[in-house]
Symmetry: C2
Subunit: 528 residues, 2 copies
């Protein structure tokens, strides 16, 4: 059923001789068929086709882009159980999770369709002519956001649907008007192939240039070649710091550098303030367990560090966490290498002097090389501040609790942190009333601050910001989740002195698309 080839501008491509197979992480078994890595020529052809398609697709009416996004969602749904089954066998993620992720993926595509159909995201601005102005008249000036050009997308291992082939990067790039070349994730190539086929069918059914979407198998060299192709204009990436930085460096060493939006690493600190700890430490421990073990701890927003003030309430909190962790289920991680990296990082961290393992799940590990059990360890703020390794991300179901002597030490800890996607505070009204400095410090380090919740669960909505200072992402100014993600793939174009007939519809006097526009500095939907 699966062909195992790349899909370049609607055509299968399999000229390469290197092959690989997916594995079922739960059993270790190799899965059919063999997948064929693309050649450098095939990868270049994908970007060339995207550049050619840009002339067509970039100029399509928003309604056509919206219909493409909706058609992709419908085609993905039409894949039915075959997609769920293949994805489950390639990732070890349970069918219920994949089904939920499919709903999120299709919902995301439809949300971008709605955004594009409404259209005001283009931030249309019009300054009308002022002929009488002195010393010189002001010309008529109009500006809007337009698509940046071909985008290369690298999907994530941990979201085979929502952040991969037809995930948030692809959806927002297509919504902006940009053709997309996806570098297939080698851990879920069959899932990728099924989704790529769905996108290609949707594009064909919409009468679009087939170069609007390509899907390319390959390793790191193919990835760099896609990023360095002269026609590539932007890159979306979700994955490790090492891989993200390599692509960032490759993009910036081009003769003409291009933006790379890489979402890389985050330990997502949680601060439990004294009254909350005393009043509902048990509930927080229970919620924390659910959050750091969700998806076997394989979320970029997994809380990895928990800070609290030392004392009886913290002891009780750690005890409760220990009891829960011992009873927690082990799970199947995405790949043997992710599991190996998890075990190595956890071992390195717990080997640091002054770190004490508190509890591990007592459940027998499942068979195979990918099973991982939740665990929790404990250290002091003094040790945390002295040992930078303790702030490193451990990607998997592990959390480190850090006992602080006082609020100042807790503040010193947040100030010692690198850039983060999220920071979380648990506090009562009384706690929060005196947490201003801590909140400010958290804000300087993170893109999203959560009060009395948990960072896992990233809403796909207009107000979401999924990003943060480096190394959380390579560009602190943009989000990869939510409707604002479209702004990554657009650039302003300014039209000066244009007759109405030559302007894009978004900027015409009559405002035929009924956009909210800024006219002479004031927002309005009125025609001119």
């Amino acid at each position: 059923m699966l062909h195992g080839k790349s899909l370049i501008a609607g055509q299968l491509a399999g000229a390469g001789s290197t092959t690989f197979r997916a594995r079922n992480p739960a059993t270790g078994a190799e899965l059919e068929p063999a997948f064929r890595e693309a050649t450098a020529a095939e990868a270049a052809r994908a970007v060339d086709a995207a550049a050619e398609a840009f002339a067509d697709y970039g100029a399509r009416r928003p309604e056509e882009r919206a219909r493409l996004l909706e058609a992709i969602a419908a085609e993905i749904e039409a894949l039915g159980d075959a997609l769920i089954e293949r994805t489950t066998s390639e990732t070890g993620l349970p069918a219920a999770r994949i089904t939920g992720e499919r709903a999120r993926t299709c919902g995301q595509l439809r949300l971008f369709a709605e955004l594009v159909r409404e259209g005001s995201w283009v931030d249309a601005r019009i300054d009308t002519e002022l002929l009488e102005r002195r010393p010189a008249p002001r010309p008529d000036i109009r500006r809007m956001l337009k698509p940046i050009g071909p985008v290369v997308v690298f999907g994530a291992s941990n979201f085979p649907l929502a952040f991969s082939t037809a995930g948030g990067d692809t959806a927002s790039a297509l919504a902006a008007g940009c053709p997309v070349v996806v570098k297939a994730h080698p851990a879920h190539p069959g899932c990728g192939e099924l989704v790529a086929g769905a996108i290609a069918r949707a594009a064909a059914g919409s009468g679009l240039h087939p170069g609007v979407f390509s899907f390319v198998h390959g390793g790191a060299a193919i990835g760099v070649a896609l990023v360095q192709h002269p026609a590539t204009t932007a890159v979306g990436f979700t994955g490790s710091h090492a891989a993200g930085r390599a692509l960032f460096d490759a993009a910036n060493s081009r003769q003409k550098p291009i933006p790379v939006f890489a979402e890389m690493s985050s330990v997502n600190p949680v601060f439990v303030l004294p009254h909350a700890l005393a009043e509902r430490g048990d509930a927080i421990a229970q919620g924390l367990l659910g959050s750091f073990t969700l998806g076997v701890g394989q979320f970029c927003t997994k809380p990895g560090l928990v800070f609290a003030l030392r004392g009886p309430a913290m002891d009780a909190f750690v005890d409760k966490l220990a009891v829960s962790v011992r009873q927690a289920a082990s799970g199947t991680m995405l790949t043997p290498s992710i599991r190996a990296a998890f075990e190595r990082a956890r071992a390195d961290l717990t080997a640091v002097e002054g770190v004490r393992g508190v509890a591990s799940s007592t459940e027998a590990s499942a068979a195979g090389a990918t099973s991982a059990s939740p665990s929790v360890a404990l250290t002091s703020a003094a040790r945390f501040l002295a040992e930078p390794l303790l702030a490193h991300e451990v990607f998997g179901p592990f959390v480190l609790v850090i006992g602080c002597d006082d609020a100042d030490e807790m503040l010193a800890c947040v100030r010692a942190l690198d850039g983060q996607l999220t920071a979380t505070l648990h506090g009562t009204e009384a706690d929060l009333a005196v947490a201003g400095t801590l909140l400010e410090a958290a804000e300087s380090r993170a893109g999203r601050i959560i009060v009395n919740g948990f960072p896992t669960g990233v809403e796909v909505s207009p107000a979401m910001h999924h990003g943060g200072p480096y190394p959380a992402t390579t560009d602190v100014r943009f989000t990869s989740v939510g409707t604002a993600a479209i702004l990554r793939f657009a650039r302003p174009i300014c039209y000066q002195g244009f007759p109405d007939a030559l302007l894009p519809a978004e900027l015409e006097n009559a405002n035929p698309r009924n956009l909210l526009r800024t006219v002479n500095g004031a927002p309005t939907r009125d025609p001119l």
Copy 2:
């Protein structure tokens, strides 16, 4: 009267031993006093102070930022003729031009004050809680733009006021809430010192942490040190491609890369379409002369290439241009090195086989090593397409006319161009009706497209976009002129589950600042 020192967080700093003097480009005379380059320690101190000031200034109410910007404008105006005289003697630019530029600079500061006072630029977005949603409730999520942190600004030689110490980069960074460290331009250090003093007085009068602004003399090494200081979070630059790229590379080779907004080089092509050429070739030639000789051709938007179809109308156009150029005045360029680079670039270009010098100003050059005369040269599209050197920027009063055989050849020329700040079309209604492909190609290469006008004259307004694909700028998504320039120095922060009392005013339920916000996807000024 001038002290010749750096100004670091309100204190004079002159520990360095290297000194330099400004020169009057019109006479070649050295000007008093000697200026002292900052030491590496002084430069680091400026950024450290900016980081410290950020905690104060970044949290100030928008009204306080607006007042600072207005106070800076007032202090600059209060410098009176002393500023005009010093700037004139350092740049060779006439007093009328400097007076106009001062008005533009102060207007720009006040425009940003108005933007910040109104406040909706922060793009506030609120997604309200949906407790009943299944499978999981939606938390309350709110997001707005907040200042990115300390910004280092490198001013331009050709705009000693409007794009230098208190220019567009400084104004937009301060408006966003970011402290600024200006690397003083060595060609107008006295002008810089006067303006820096005005800013420091305004900051002191506003009761702000003095680290909100510093002004540092120094060479390339000091510039790189400022960019690579760990506390620097963004860079604004206007100048040459070589210098801009060096800073871009320095910023991206940091352990934690930061954005660099460098506005570098552009030849600003002009396309004169057949009917317009026939009907008003003389007027276009006259307008072109005014545009490419304005400010002795020292504008980033100076039109450097003019494309037209060969034939009698083009011959007449070139003749008219030649007559005008011969009568045009020579002028004083900004520095001997800019003049030397101009003469070299023009000589290299006109030495290319198939390029013919058409006319030069017959006016005797003024005395000194900085005088330059307008001139025009002619070549064919075939030569232009064969010789990449012909597309290089010649910074000064020179224009190259390129004769094309037909519309296809003109299209090939625009497609051969690098990224540009602007592209200009002159055409009648009939010309423009068939210019769709040319317009699209121009749009793919430039940030601003002008119809029946000239690219010099960059309006400071909401709809202006002054930017373009590399090498015009390092980041095609942002403008350095107009109110949208503020977006370079801001990043989104997301607040999840926050009690109303802890939210920034911009996101409070009551909407006390009366902002236009996006609530559950729809724009409104209503409170929640």
